[in-house]
Symmetry: C2
Subunit: 344 residues, 2 copies
């Protein structure tokens, strides 16, 4: 199974860290405040003299964020009697989608967020899905609505996603949200979960962004494009590399910060990386592995073994960005509930 | 008057070309079809052996586009009896704003577009302005609404701009439009006029964009940011340079295409420019000039005398992007009228 899989917002890997990086120390980020973008842990960007990079431990940071969310959910319940609620709509019986939805449900439970679920059969009509969305739109106990992608091919994804009330669009994919993300002086209601998780990792590890060269590899609506907009909001000088870029390694080699989200296993090699760069690897690609009981293992877009030698910090796959996506989804749901109830 | 002026979408310069580039030949683009992005004139990007750059003659291209629009307006009027209409709202009595509005009106008349105008006194309330917008929103003879900026300081610009129906927002500044511009697989209803004019100049001069390195200097909501999104839609590899960029000349020097929109006179010098690059200069900055009767002259963000020696093509200031902005406004108004009447 050497095929590559494009990363979608639905991914959430809970696999244990692989043995690839057992020789590298994990930084465990100490508890910090809940506010997005607020807290720094340990500056890593300057540590270029180290012969091996720091591992950016997404699993541990995500755990910490879930703990913070959990505390906030309790405080809210105790203060005003409101419990944030997330509704997930799953159409059809794709195994991977069912797993993601189950993981989201578990994550909600772990922090005290109410989780609602609609499971519709594969042959549902678009109207039936829209009816569910409409019900959740009107339900005051629901603060976030998430439609699990992909939808069956007979449905118009754009129509369905557009039906979610923007105040409950915790995925942050609504064009109005993206427009606000792109514009100076405007703020999106929600920042899309995966790119938000990438930036949060940089913040929690104290990686300076302002004035730095950043390269985003990939320009998807759900990761690459919003990640580039977020980095620019933080005053990085951002370049976007994509399939039509003629010299991707040359452009990428100039970056202090690399965010890769293309779904190409091990595409980013040593010669793409400036010594001391910080790398956030969003790719989760299955590649053949006869040593694994499953017959495959998951690798990122970045060749980890090479990156760890040149970069100052790298996210592993799995255990890097993956766990952050769902933590950000919980955070967006909490933000939504706080906003609607004016709770600070 | 050595101050710099930030370029706004309201600029429209009709001054004759300055003597600066009298030694350089002007390419006059032959008539082409109206379709945006459709027509090429003469490839310039490869002409790096030339000791001096081509002048990208925005005045002449804008004239050509106005002729095309004029023909389409006639065809529409004769076929279905509909005349496109543009309403401009001007609040207060700023001299520069009054000039821009007058120029827009003249431009409308020159192509047969109906021009409506509301002149409100400086001390109008926000509600009064919103009433006018609401009237134009409901008026079927109005296909485009433009609020002349800046508004008096006692008004909330965002509220007022948001009140314009997105189907009539020919400026293309609505966040929903910007979001669609950023997203793959989505299309904005209108592309903001000035960045659209920049790309149109590249197209009409046959400058290849796909796979090229492009640098946008400036990240304003009305020029830099949408210009970067447009270049990316055309498969350029785009970097955005801004006030926090630590080495702007180094980044800019890598560009095959430079679009500058910062309002800093002569900021981009020879050493910022890769030999053979194509330069679109959006800046219109007044600088002292004792030889001028007015006491000042207009210059771009790019040092023209130096650029013309290194680049393969450059827009002059005035006479480059300026005239294109209003041509694109007329084009957006025509597009809006065609869309609402389903006229092709």
């Amino acid at each position: 199974m050497a095929s590559s899989v494009f990363f979608t917002h639905s991914h959430y890997s809970s696999s244990p860290s692989s043995s690839l990086f057992r020789h590298h120390r994990h930084l465990v980020a100490p508890p910090t405040s809940l506010r997005f973008s607020s807290s720094h842990v340990a500056p890593v960007a300057a540590m270029t003299t180290d012969s091996s990079a720091k591992v950016i431990d997404g699993k541990s940071v995500a755990k910490q964020i879930r703990d913070e969310i959990s505390a906030e959910v309790s405080r809210m319940r105790e203060s005003i009697g409101v419990i944030p609620g997330l509704a997930v709509i799953l159409v059809g019986d794709r195994k991977d989608s069912a797993t993601y939805v189950r993981n989201k449900k578990k994550a909600c439970e772990s922090v005290g967020i109410n989780s609602l679920e609609a499971n519709l059969p594969e042959d549902s009509t678009e109207e039936e899905v829209l009816n569910y969305i409409s019900g959740y739109n009107d339900d005051p106990s629901v603060h976030g609505i998430l439609v699990q992608l992909p939808l069956p091919s007979h449905m118009n994804e754009q129509n369905i996603l557009n039906a979610v009330r923007i105040e409950k669009d915790v995925d942050g994919f609504h064009p109005l949200n993206i427009g606000r993300l792109a514009m100076r002086g405007r703020d999106p209601l929600f920042v899309p979960c995966t790119p938000k998780g990438c930036i949060e990792l940089l913040h929690r590890y104290g990686v300076p962004i302002k004035g730095k060269r950043a390269v985003v590899i990939g320009r998807s609506n759900i990761v690459g494009m919003p990640a580039a907009l977020l980095l620019q909001r933080e005053d990085a000088t951002v370049s976007v590399v994509h399939s039509r870029t003629s010299n991707p390694e040359e452009v990428t080699r100039q970056a202090d910060i690399i965010i890769s989200a293309v779904g190409q296993p091990n595409m980013v090699r040593e010669n793409w990386i400036k010594p001391g760069a910080v790398i956030i690897d969003v790719g989760i690609n299955p590649v053949e592995d006869p040593n694994s009981a499953r017959g495959y293992k998951l690798v990122g877009d970045v060749c980890y073994e090479e990156a760890i030698k040149v970069a100052s910090a790298v996210t592993p796959v799995p255990g890097g960005v993956g766990p952050m996506t769902i933590a950000m989804l919980l955070q967006n749901t909490l933000i939504s509930a706080k906003r609607v109830h004016n709770f600070e």
